[in-house]
């Protein structure tokens, strides 16, 4: 599909925002807008697939220059393999979100605050991955940030959402400022803003280090790398669920696109230290993200913290790829980068799916707190199935897609002992252990989320009366489940599709998978390691069917219902069930007492006293306490001093001005 047509489609989406504003309150507006977004996203998805196919066939990237933006430079756009891959990631999830919103959007309380910004948000993300000069990139980036900020503030009657919006705004501003610095340094202080020129001009090594630092901060603040993740678990859950899905599943990926574009494409040859730094941050992010998630009992916030964890896993892949590339290990770099990009795709699929599930639960019950749910599998079987599949995928269980990308990342880690630097020799296995730990903890966390929300007995009336969500939402979730299964069972196809992208960035690609027998996935050589999702799925299916047949066919066909074992305690209130906090308690005692200084105290009344016993749990967020609180306090102090200057008398004001005047004159006298 020609690039001008792609841009016209994005423009149509951009124009839909303002056009829908006057009619946003009407009942048909949501359906029409989401229908349009579904259609346009579908077309853009096709454009991405065709672009990737063209890149695979070795066609040169398409370039377009529009007479917009900065005079004499214009706005450049380019569709190469990397852009095409991210177009697919963005638009598959966007199409699914639009389909989901066709049903979900009908329950929206404030459609006038959501509808105008939704298409602008989608258009912004699409433009970021296509931009081919610094100005267009930053403009699209800001379009994406501002539109998503408005969507976060859609339900601004809740003070928590207003605070989330405030924190998000600050962090988004930081992100853009740092990217401005990045591109300022890359473009030699604005002398060549075009990416084509930046690509050929390699900055000196000190400048390149600064670029990496600024880019990691700028992108990290958007993607949610620890310790810049603080806005993410506040802002993502605050938006309507289909927007949460896009923010978590897609917007963070667009940020990753920025990092990959800058580090692998625009900047010159890497140093191994960059890889080590990103690897370390990625490892910390993965482990911290999942530990935070375990402590949560708000379903959407738990999912948002898992986004932090998954961004850490992607960063591990990127850091490894940089380290391998700096040492000239082309195949290792290709393997690590493939793992990172594969995980980008996977996370966009299963995180969107899980947020849709959370949205469906929210619509059906009005609750986000896990401790108010329970037993939803009876009322909402299809949502429960989809959420279960998403949970399995994000917990990296074979044969689903999450396993494949984490397996590839671990394969890349296993070849790292060949790296010459001692720092990396020690760091990479530690990060690998962190990756394995985070996968295990993620599984524990989703056993908690699914078990507390969907199994057991309903804890509230709302949960008991929950009914299945509408057809459109179900279709969106089932489509994502299908995509998760397909990417898990046929990973070779995805890896082959990624080959031209990886070749573009590191010059090498993984072994061609289509030549392997039986759809086997091979990381480096077949003798070393291989994985076959199809065989695994067939084995699971066959063994499960045999077990079912064995039990029902040979023993008894009758379905029996019996009371649950109540430990000899005849109280049958649903409140006696496990809660989210009690499920997480063992893990909290092991990890969180150190990381979050978690303290539990039990207030047990003496016999005869009628007040209830209480368990109080206090957690302290180390990132807020160490990094952000001092900044906030400094700003507060400075603001206090400025406000004291405001109440000075006239004469003191004059004296202040006079002192500044004299100071400037002295500077002038000394300077000349």
């Amino acid at each position: 599909m020609p690039l001008p047509l792609v841009l016209c489609l994005i423009l149509a989406m951009l124009a839909a925002g303002p056009l829908v504003t006057p009619v946003a309150g009407r009942s048909w507006a949501g359906g029409a807008l989401y229908g349009l977004c579904l259609a346009v996203s579908g077309l853009l998805l096709v454009a991405g697939l065709l672009g990737l196919a063209a890149a695979g066939a070795g066609t040169a990237p398409q370039l377009v220059r529009l007479p917009l933006g900065v005079p004499w430079i214009g706005a450049g756009f380019r569709l190469d393999g990397l852009s095409a891959f991210f177009l697919i990631v963005v638009n598959f999830a966007a199409a699914a979100a639009s389909l989901f919103a066709l049903g979900y959007g009908r329950h929206e309380l404030a459609p006038r605050r959501v509808l105008p910004f939704y298409p602008v948000f989608l258009a912004g993300m699409n433009l970021v991955v296509l931009a081919n000069d610094a100005y267009s990139f930053l403009f699209s980036w800001e379009l994406m940030s501002v539109a998503s900020w408005f969507l976060v503030m859609a339900h601004n009657h809740d003070p928590a959402n207003r605070r989330a919006g405030y924190v998000y705004l600050i962090m988004a501003a930081l992100s853009t400022q740092m990217l401005l610095v990045t591109f300022g340094l890359l473009s030699d202080f604005g002398s060549h803003l075009d990416f084509e020129a930046i690509r050929t001009a390699h900055p000196p090594v000190e400048i390149a280090r600064l670029v990496v630092l600024a880019a990691v901060i700028g992108v990290g603040a958007k993607a949610g790398l620890v310790p810049l993740h603080v806005w993410l678990p506040l802002a993502h859950p605050a938006a309507p669920s289909h927007v949460s899905a896009l923010m978590s599943g897609v917007m963070t990926k667009v940020a990753i696109y920025g990092l990959v574009r800058i580090l692998f494409d625009l900047l010159g040859p890497p140093e191994w230290t960059w890889g080590a730094g990103i690897l370390f941050i990625g490892g910390v992010t993965a482990v911290m993200g999942v530990l935070y998630a375990l402590m949560q009992h708000d379903l959407k916030r738990l999912l948002a913290y898992h986004t932090v964890e998954n961004i850490g896993i992607i960063a591990i892949g990127i850091g490894l790829a940089l380290a391998f590339r700096a040492n000239g290990f082309g195949l290792g770099a290709a393997l690590a980068l493939t793992a990172a990009l594969f995980h980008v795709l996977n996370h966009s699929l299963f995180k969107s799916l899980l947020f849709f599930g959370a949205g469906a639960v929210l619509t059906a019950t009005g609750k986000r707190d896990l401790d108010h749910l329970g037993g939803l599998i009876r009322g909402m079987p299809i949502t429960a199935f989809c959420f279960l599949m998403g949970s399995a995928a994000i917990s990296a269980l074979p044969p689903l897609n999450g396993f494949v990308s984490e397996w590839l990342a671990l394969q890349a880690i296993l070849i790292s002992p060949e790296l010459p630097q001692w720092v990396l020799k020690f760091l990479v296995p530690m990060v690998g252990a962190g990756l394995a730990l985070s996968a295990a903890l993620a599984a524990a966390c989703f056993v908690k989320a699914f078990g507390i929300a969907f199994l057991g007995r309903a804890r509230t009336v709302a949960a008991e009366r929950a009914r299945e969500t509408d057809r459109c939402s179900q279709a969106a979730m089932l489509a994502l489940v299908a995509a998760c299964v397909l990417a898990g069972v046929l990973p070779g196809m995805v890896v082959d599709a990624l080959a031209p992208v990886v070749t573009l960035l590191v010059g090498f690609h993984m072994p061609t998978q289509s030549s392997e027998p039986w759809l086997t996935l091979v990381a480096t050589t077949p003798e070393r390691s291989s994985y076959n999702g199809l065989v695994l799925m067939v084995f699971i299916a066959v063994s499960a069917l045999v077990a079912v047949y064995g039990i029902h066919g040979l023993a008894s066909r009758r379905r029996r219902r019996a009371g649950a074992w109540d430990c000899g305690y005849p109280e049958t209130s649903p409140a006696t069930q496990y809660t989210a906090a009690s499920f997480a308690q063992p893990i909290r005692r092991v990890f969180a007492s150190v990381v979050f200084s978690a303290r539990e105290s039990v207030d047990m009344p003496v016999p005869g006293d009628l007040r209830p016993a209480r368990l109080t749990l206090t957690l302290r967020d180390p990132v807020w306490a160490v990094l952000y609180r001092p900044v906030v306090e400094t700003v507060d102090t400075a603001a206090g001093m400025v406000s004291r200057a405001r109440t000075l008398s006239i004469r003191q004001h004059l004296s202040l001005v006079y002192a500044v005047l004299i100071l400037l004159l002295v500077v002038l006298a000394l300077w000349q």
Binding site: T647, S649, I650, R651, Y658, A669, Q672
Partner: protein, 222 residues
Amino acid sequence: MPVAHGLAFDVAHMLAGGMVTVSFMLLFQDRLFALIQFIALHALVLTLALGWQAWLQDAEHLYAAAALALVFKATLIPWVLHRLVRRLRIERAVETVVGAGMTMLFGICLVGLAVVVMLPLAAKSPLMWEDLSFALAVVMLGLLIMITRRNAVGQIIGFLSVDNGMMLAAAGAHGMPFLIDLSIAFSALVALIVFGIFLSHIFKHFDSVDVHTLDRFRGDQP
């Protein structure tokens, strides 16, 4: 434009220096009537300096500026201020100047600073350098008068001397349009009217022209 050296230069130098001297007298003086008389003297020296520059540069508009300074600044404004002070019965109010000695020392430093700041001009045009550095000194001293006075009349005097310094600078810089001289004179008049109204009002409300009473009244102080 022919610039005379020798005697012409010395006289211009003396008159501008005279303004700085009168500024120091203003800085030191703590009685209201004496202050008003000295500001009249300040304006008179300004008139002479303007007239001398006009004769040197053969510029008619500077004669007009000198005439304006003589009529308004040396006569009308001091007379109005004098009447005001007498009408408000504050002629016996003594200005509390914060540490006259320290203020004088600081003023001397300011004059030095003004001369140093204008130093790059010395190579281009010595006459202009002298004139502009003296003018800057007068402006800085005027501002110093404004911030060291508690009394509103003192602040007006400070403002007027800043204004005189600006006129001196305008006369010294050759080829400055007459419009600027006029606008400065006009702004001084407007300021006089505003200050006059302000003065009688604060006196009516607070029975004092000490601007501290305003601070206390402002309400945003604890």
